[in-house]
């Protein structure tokens, strides 16, 4: 019977990894944007400083060429110099020179005038020229050295775009490595959290792969310090759970034991009464009583078996190497008298190879007893039951086949449930037999299957044990370790 594994719970949207990442990345991004603004401001300031100085140099160069000849002011700019000014790498320069009366001397006549032409000797300002933002420097120069009455004004303008580009480039070179740093940090956090959580994943696999009967402590040694308290708490819970389960099993076992004596009394008294009662009503009543006692006996025995077969907690269960042929032959032999009583032909068939299994012979015997009980009980008089043991194939196999009434398709899976009985079978039974079989088989890592016999007649119960030396699904080794 496949064990039902709970469906994976819906994944939580906030994983630990995402949370750590969020806590790291959002502040970093905020810091990054603030730093970008500051960086841009700094870059702009230094770029402006450098460009302004170059602009002033140009203005001074032009100013040096301002000459006075016969009271006429002119600027002696050679053609080469003008071309140089107009074809600079950082963009074209515009200039204008005006005389003391603000009279135009040379350059671009339409350069925007300074906001306050006479405030300082050197004045920088931003303005628009020919539809574009420009940076303008205004330089006041005395016509004659030392005489400030007659001043010539030199204006030089250049497009802002060059310096803006430059500032932007500086900014980019500053913030790109920072962004890269954030990405790398994020990736490292992602990886580190994954590595950090690896013990939890291991723990999850450990728990997922456990059988329901394994309540031993989870390994604590390899887990990091932070996870240990969790494992510790889980182990404490497992321990309490095993104790509770063991107590429950003990209770069932004790109850079954306690019931045996009164039932024995009831049985003995019924038997005695039957011998003495006259034929008739009283006999019938006593027979019913006897059959009821039989069923109670069986139920109590099966409850006890079940309590024994269930998770083997805290109890020492010997595990040994068993020859399945020997075990099955003995079990079958035990059932022969009962089969003869019911006129059922019970037989045994085994191939010549030893079929070794690892397990507890008492429990395996109990398992076979239950299969045989069912087969002998539900097969009609004159019917046949055969126990077969084979070592070949997928593993040591024991099967019990009968040519009885069979089990309807729909009920085949349900017969393994406790207290489930196939309707209309008539024979007394309490529906625990196959539950015990399945429980014991599982604890030995064996697979129980049920299918109709040849030609759809009867039932075959087949129990396939794992090959020795192979992996037993951890359960036989669990048996062995106890």
């Amino acid at each position: 019977m496949p064990e039902s594994r709970p469906a994976t719970p819906p994944r939580s949207q906030t994983t630990l990894r995402k949370q750590v990442l969020a806590w790291l990345c959002w502040p970093l991004l905020l810091l990054w944007s603030v730093s970008s603004v500051v960086d841009y401001d700094i870059a702009n300031r230094f770029v402006n400083l450098a460009y302004d100085r170059a602009l002033l140099e140009s203005a001074l160069d032009i100013g040096r060429q301002v000459k006075v000849l016969k009271e006429r002011i002119y600027v002696d700019l050679p053609e080469v110099a003008v071309q140089m000014l107009q074809s600079r790498e950082s963009g074209r320069l515009y200039y204008r020179v005006t005389g003391p009366q603000n009279d135009y001397i040379t350059g671009e006549p339409d350069l925007p005038p300074p906001p306050d032409p006479f405030s300082e000797r050197v004045n920088y300002y931003d303005d628009q020229y020919r539809g574009r933002p420009v940076r303008i420097v205004t330089l006041q120069l005395p016509l004659e050295p030392g005489k400030t009455e007659r001043m010539v004004m030199v204006q030089v303008a250049e497009n802002r775009s060059a310096r803006n580009d430059f500032a932007r480039q500086i900014l980019l070179r500053m913030i790109l490595p920072q962004a890269l740093l954030i990405v790398v940090a994020g990736m490292m956090i992602w990886y580190a959290v994954g590595r950090g959580l690896a013990p939890l994943v291991t723990l999850r696999h450990e728990i997922e792969n456990r059988s329901h009967r394994d309540l031993s402590a989870l390994p604590e040694e390899q887990a990091p310090q932070e996870v240990r308290p969790l494992i510790h708490a889980m182990n404490a819970l497992l321990e309490r759970l095993s104790a509770a389960l063991a107590a429950q099993q003990r209770f069932i076992a004790d109850a079954a034991h306690q019931l045996r004596t009164p039932i024995a009394g009831l049985k003995t008294q019924t038997e005695l009464a039957l011998r003495q009662a006259p034929q008739g009503e009283a006999q019938t009543t006593l027979r019913q009583l006897q059959s009821g006692t039989e069923r109670t006996t069986r139920l109590v025995n099966q409850l006890l078996s079940l309590a024994r077969a269930e998770p083997l907690i805290g109890r020492v269960q010997a595990s040994e190497l068993i020859d399945l042929r020997q075990l099955a032959r003995e079990a079958t032999s035990d059932w022969v008298p009962r089969a003869l009583e019911r006129n059922v032909d019970l037989g045994f068939d085994a191939d010549s190879h030893a079929a070794h299994v690892q397990g507890n012979s008492f429990l395996l015997r109990e398992m076979l007893n239950n299969v045989l009980d069912n087969a002998v009980r539900y097969t009609q008089p004159g019917g046949q039951v055969t126990v077969r043991v084979a070592a070949s194939g997928s593993g040591p196999t024991v099967s019990v086949e009968d040519n009885g009434p069979g089990i309807p398709d729909g009920e085949r899976a349900r017969v393994f449930e406790r207290f489930y009985r196939v309707l209309g079978t008539g024979a007394e039974g309490c529906g625990l037999g196959l539950a015990i079989v399945s429980e014991i088989a599982q604890s030995h890592g064996a697979q129980v299957s049920l299918y109709p016999g040849i030609g759809g007649i009867g039932t075959v119960v087949k129990i396939v044990f794992p090959q020795l030396g192979g992996n037993f699904d951890g359960q036989a080794s669990e048996l062995a370790s106890m």
């Binding site: 034991h257 032959r329 003869l340 045994f348």
Partner: protein, 224 residues
């Protein structure tokens, strides 16, 4: 024949007592271990039916003290515990037989008869199966008083079958019994002996059944 029943469940004790009294045994019944120990120290019985879970003194302890005093009375242990360790312990302490509650009354009565017989003959030399009686010491068999003409090997096979009457005996067990007469007893030889035995016993209504793949079984005598 005196039988002591030590059982603390009154209903069961009463049932056992009455059933054994019907069978003409003299029966004493006690419900306490300590008391049983006292009584057993003072009197001798032909059989003790002993429950294990007793008040006063545990059944195991009663048995241990009984055997320490050297009493040879056969003891049939009744118990609600069917664990193998309990069974082994009981037999180790000197119990002669062991029955798990709840048991079938006829089976208990049969075992009581067998135990008493064994106690009297000191090992039991006569095996009976309905009208068939086998004297294991004298190595001869009689059917309704008439001697049966059986070879030594046939007697050997019959002895094993009768000792385990109603239960399956496999060919290995039979071969083991016959080992010593022949160097090697093959399965075919056993089939021959069983076949001959059958021919001699069947007219008297004693049948040896072949159980497929398992061996043979001497069917329960109707009166057992």
């Amino acid at each position: 024949m005196k039988i002591l029943i030590v059982e603390d469940d009154p209903v069961l004790a009463d049932g056992l007592t009455r059933s054994l009294r019907h069978a003409e045994y003299a029966v004493d019944c006690l419900n306490n271990g300590a008391e049983a120990d006292h009584v057993l120290a003072a009197q001798s019985y032909d059989l003790v039916i002993l429950d294990l879970g007793l008040p006063g003194l545990d059944g195991f302890e009663v048995l241990r003290r009984l055997r320490r005093r050297g009493a040879a009375a056969p003891v049939l242990v009744l118990t609600a515990r069917d664990g193998l360790p309990d069974r082994v312990k009981g037999l180790d302490l000197g119990a002669d037989d062991y029955m798990i509650k709840p048991f079938d009354l006829p089976e208990l009565e049969a075992r009581v008869r067998a135990l008493i017989r064994r106690g009297q003959t000191g090992g039991g030399s006569a095996l009976a199966h309905g009208a068939l009686v086998l004297d294991t010491a004298g190595r001869r068999a009689t059917l309704a008083g008439e001697p049966l003409d059986l070879s030594a090997r046939e007697l050997g096979v019959l002895e094993v079958l009768m000792m385990r009457s109603g239960r399956v005996v496999n060919k290995e067990q039979l071969a083991e019994q016959l080992y010593g007469w022949d160097e090697e007893v093959g399965p075919n030889a056993i089939e021959v002996y069983v076949h001959r035995l059958r021919r001699k016993l069947e007219p008297a209504g004693v049948s040896i059944r072949t159980i497929r793949g398992l061996g043979y079984l001497l069917e329960k005598a109707p009166s057992a």
